[in-house]
């Protein structure tokens, strides 16, 4: 093992079908550095075309980057990657908590699960020992009780868990893995993948592997300066310390865009917002709680209707507030808590519920479809009933559990027109009509929507031209509604987010939200002191570009996704923002196509198909990717 510093050095492969394990050195995969990078590389190599997300051949891959388990602030993220159950392409999520650090201290940078156990099982990885435990006694429990039971059975309060609830057991297509009781691995059905393998939980405890630092004195000097001069002065950090994204983005009087009523509207009244500001949730707050290694404590422990839950952020407020028009903090928090305990992705759950309510209110479906339930926006009771039905696949919940793409196929009757589908996944976001780079990043996201790939949070800050020139070498991005230069901003963000995920840094404390935080130069400096290697900022950005090409190729290999899958849903082009500071804004197909041309050109991809070219893949060192595409008869200019 020659990766002596930063990395733990090993990748553990677990075949669940025959319970065999093997180890490979992390070094073999080092061009992709770690975290999501190595995860996606393994996924591309391991999964052959034709495999479905719920097949035993799918892989569930956990990854931690070289900064994880050090004192670098907020660098404790776990990347989880798999073939997506809904899109059939890239499945990818990321959670905080403690798991990534324990995994590295147990000796592993990555753990790869393939196959399927023949009965409900949980896995306990205790340094070099891998235990397969019978989980029949905990099958059916929620994620919180599962975590508790595993800790109790293993007699170790400090172990960290990834668990599924009943949604994952029932293979709900947007079920999420929940890390350490309150950290969800969203998008793509990670929980269903785990459930399909009969794995109720994965626990890890590391007592033996030190994460070594190549240049300890230089590292500490650089880290102390970074903390003092940058991290603790960051405006984003200060805001997130006051209640996470919940405190940052839901403020009355701003008239800013929200995703409202199945994304039909983007204006939410100040009266509505006033009922769900952060202080309304603080009434239920027990205490603030950090992810391991993070000085931001943006999460919290809440008590709601006898349940103790964690971690509500702005996403859940959009999901169970504006998108279903609920204006009671108690109802929003309760829906969030149910999703965490059942192990459901709040974004996709909201999309399914809001779509169903919209169908009901427009007369496409009626009580005959919904098991007698009357569905209406603003009714917390109706939302929680649907969430319960989805998790248990009960009646109409069994239809919604398939995700909106399949559900709208089952229901028919023109119901697809009310959906916002991109690559079969639902878009559940604010500001897609007004903020053009934000929309481009979401719609081209390799995971099938979501703001955690190329969608640049900095577009909301209307940076002056001199700043965008300095930061990105892009001349002007100050007008969110303009299409000009936005493709370049998205391409930069994709590369940068790749770096952040390869390191294991949290997106919330990155340049995604604050231009001062973790610049590529800062990351290279810290990484080099930790690992003793010589990465440059440019080199890291190129690794990010390679990762983007790899994921785009994975989507192409498995699903043939290309240009036609990068077009916005109809509603975003036809229904403009009705009120507020972006009144009248919508997406325009002709200008979108021009922006898309520019986006493909910047990537060096084919403009007609939207596919990565062989030439581009080879230039990035992705020879084997090009070969695998060719072997599967995927060639340019079909």
């Amino acid at each position: 093992m020659s990766l002596k510093h930063g990395w733990a050095g090993k990748i553990l492969f677990v075949n669940l079908s025959d319970r065999s394990t093997r180890i490979e050195p992390t070094e073999k995969y080092i061009p992709f550095i770690g975290g999501r990078g190595i995860n996606q590389w393994l996924l591309f190599e391991l999964i052959e075309k034709g495999v479905h997300g719920l097949d035993p051949e799918n892989a569930l891959i956990l990854g931690a980057g070289p900064m994880v388990g050090t004192l670098v602030p907020s660098a404790g993220r776990l990347s989880v990657d798999y073939l997506n159950v809904i899109t059939g392409g890239v499945g990818s999520g990321n959670c905080g908590g403690r798991f990534a650090v324990e995994m590295k201290n147990a000796g592993y940078d990555h753990i790869v699960f393939t196959g399927k156990t023949d009965r409900p099982t949980y896995i306990f990885i205790q340094d070099d020992t891998i235990h397969f435990r019978d989980a029949s006694g905990i099958w059916g429990l929620g994620t919180w009780d599962t975590d508790e039971q595993i800790k109790s059975e293993e007699k170790d309060r400090r172990l960290s868990t990834l668990t599924i609830g009943v949604a994952g057991e029932n293979l709900v297509k947007f079920a999420s893995i929940i890390g350490d009781r309150g950290r969800a691995v969203g998008y793509g059905g990670s929980g269903a993948v785990m459930g399909s393998k009969n794995i109720k939980g994965i626990a890890v405890r590391g007592k033996n592997t030190f994460i070594k630092v190549a240049r300890p004195s230089e590292f500490m000097n650089r880290l102390r300066a970074f903390n003092k001069e940058i991290f603790n002065k960051s405006g984003a950090v200060k805001i997130h310390r006051k209640g996470g994204t919940l405190g940052a983005y839901v403020l009355p009087g701003q008239n800013r865009p929200h995703g409202v009523r199945n994304m039909n509207e983007e204006f939410w009244s100040n009266d509505a917002i006033n009922n769900v500001t952060r202080d309304k949730f603080d009434e239920f707050l027990v205490r603030r709680h950090s992810c391991f290694g993070c000085p931001v404590y943006c999460s919290g422990i809440y008590e709601i209707k006898g349940m103790v839950c964690e971690g509500i952020q702005a996403n859940s407020l959009r999901a169970f507030g504006s998108n279903v028009d609920i204006t009671s903090a108690e109802d929003v928090l309760y829906a969030h808590a149910l999703c965490n305990n059942y192990g459901l992705d709040t974004d996709q759950t909201s999309a399914a519920v809001a779509w169903a309510i919209d169908c009901f209110e427009k007369g496409i479906i009626d009580k005959g479809d919904t098991d007698g339930l009357e569905l209406k926006f603003g009714d917390g009771n109706c939302v929680t009933k649907l969430i319960k039905k989805i998790a248990s696949r009960d009646g109409f919940g069994n239809v919604l559990a398939m995700g909106v793409h399949e559900a709208s196929e089952i229901v028919g009757r023109g119901s697809r027109e009310l959906a916002l589908l991109v690559k079969k996944n639902s878009a559940m976001e604010a500001a897609m009509r007004s903020h053009k780079a934000w929309a481009l990043g979401i719609i081209t996201s390799t995971k099938g929507t979501g703001h955690l790939r190329g969608a640049p949070g900095l577009e909301f800050q209307k940076l002056p031209p001199e700043t965008s020139k300095k930061l990105f070498n892009i001349k002007d991005i100050s007008d969110p509604t303009s299409y000009e230069n936005k493709a370049a901003l998205v391409v930069w963000q994709e590369k940068y987010k790749g770096i952040v995920d390869m390191m294991g840094i949290c997106a919330l404390t990155s340049m995604w939200m604050d231009q001062t935080l973790f610049t590529p130069e800062d990351i290279a400096g810290l990484l080099n002191d930790i690992t003793g290697k010589q990465y440059s900022a440019e080199g890291l950005l190129e690794a990010g570009e390679a990762l983007q090409n790899l994921e785009r190729s994975l989507n192409l290999l498995h699903q043939g996704f290309g240009r036609s899958d990068d077009i916005p849903p109809r509603k975003l082009m036809e229904i403009p923002v009705g009120k507020g500071i972006y009144e009248g804004e919508r997406l325009h197909l002709d200008r979108w196509n021009q922006m898309l041309d520019e986006y493909y050109e910047l990537h060096g991809w084919d403009k007609t198909t939207g596919w990565p070219t062989r030439q581009r893949l080879l230039a990035l060192g992705l020879d084997s990717v090009a070969e695998k595409l060719a072997k599967n008869n995927i060639v340019e200019n079909p």
Binding site: G69, T70, L71, P73, R98, V101, N105, W144, D147, E148, R157, R158, R181, G206, K207, N208, T209, F210, I211, K212, V213, P216, M220, R241, K242, G243, L285, V286, R287, R288, H289, S290, C291, F292, G293, C294, P295, V296, Y297, I301, V308
Partner: protein, 96 residues
């Protein structure tokens, strides 16, 4: 002098454990730290220190105190007076 904890301020971030292991070993392994923080599902805390704690001799201040983001870990003297915390002005949202 000794290390003291204000459980109301602690958010269980574990930076004290990481910093402590770095002081002892110039590398990171929270399990080998002289300090241990564990929060249960209801937010109840167990914080313990081991006799191996040497108050970070040769450092300007104990590293657990230096890296604690909320001032929950403090260095106090025999009469219980606080000597050093990283932040005197606490953000009230560090705790309820």
């Amino acid at each position: 002098m000794k290390i003291s904890f204000d459980k109301n301020r602690c958010t269980a971030c574990g930076l004290c454990e990481l910093a402590c292991s770095f002081h002892h070993f110039k590398s990171f392994l929270p399990d080998k730290a002289s300090i241990s923080v564990c929060m249960d599902r209801k937010g109840r805390l167990e914080i313990t220190t081991l006799p191996t704690c040497d108050l970070c001799k040769n450092e300007e201040m104990p590293m657990c105190v230096e890296f604690c983001p909320t001032g929950a870990v403090k260095l106090i003297n025999k009469s219980g007076e606080g000597l050093k915390t990283l932040r005197n002005q606490l953000d009230k949202w560090a705790v309820k």
